[in-house]
Amino acid sequence: MTTIHHSPGVYLTIAAFLFAAGVYGLLRRRTLIGMLIAGELIFSAASLNFMTFNRFLAPDPAVGQVFVLFIMGLAAAEVAIALSIIIAVYRNYRSINPKELSELNG
């Protein structure tokens, strides 16, 4: 008996939705923090995909979990760096709207 939570297709569809939402947010947002949040959604989609294949198809279920842990660590590091950059940008420009950060835009 296959129920809804025992089929890989459901998880893959959720991951695809998260990825699509992340792409949409990345394209539509006009603030740096909003784009960062959309990026986090894309990270989550990748992690969910890894965990799906880890659960259903991998011979060693520890591998995917270790990989997802590393993704989480890298995402945390990325967020720390990105937010400090955003705060530095805000201090210099009084804005974090990407359209206004155009000093080099001839």
Partner: protein, 178 residues
């Protein structure tokens, strides 16, 4: 085998709730105007993802997801929201370009979603898992982290240290005493 009848249906209901939490959180995260609501959507989405990880036989990752994403990432973003003022500019009358750009973004993401879903649905995934060599429990995970993946483990701690120092160095200059 089950402790009580209907356990499977109960699990299915919980799964649907968790799935709706993840999907709804993602929608809130990308569609609201105020950034603080967007952060709350991200936290909601991560709670749902933690539940999904639980369904994928990994309670450890579920706890880590809550601890790292909800507890660290979202809180850090909230701090940044308080330091900067990142709300989307108020929209009186949207220009045609902005509308067109939003529609294009929606179309692109819908295309991505349709393509990925089609790909995942059409692929003949193996129904039965191959021979398992471990059970993927927390002790196995710990042994793997400190034996097979010890170099990567050390590297990630180094990356985190460098990230903390880099964040301090980047955010420090420009501050002056009041």
């Amino acid at each position: 085998m089950n402790a009580f009848p209907g356990a499977e249906h109960f699990a299915a209901v919980i799964f649907v709730v968790v799935m709706a939490t993840a999907l709804g959180g993602a929608l809130i995260a990308v569609s609201t105007t105020r950034i603080i609501r967007s952060v709350c959507g991200l936290a909601l989405c991560c709670m749902g993802l933690a539940g999904l990880y639980y369904f994928l036989n990994s309670p450890f990752l579920a706890l880590m997801e809550i601890l790292i994403y909800v507890g660290a990432v979202c809180v850090t973003i909230v701090f940044a929201v308080m330091l900067a003022e990142p709300d989307e500019p108020p929209v009186g009358r949207k220009s045609w370009g902005a509308r067109l750009w939003g529609a294009g973004a929606l179309l692109a993401s819908l295309l991505v979603f349709a393509a990925l879903t089609r790909l995942g649905a059409d692929m003949p995934w193996a129904s039965a898992p191959v021979e398992r060599v471990t059970d993927g429990s927390v002790p196995v995970l710990g042994v793997a982290l400190l034996s097979t993946y010890s170099l990567a483990f050390e590297m990630i701690s180094l990356v985190l240290l460098v990230a903390i120092l880099g964040a301090l160095v980047i955010a420090r200059p420009g501050r002056s005493n009041p």
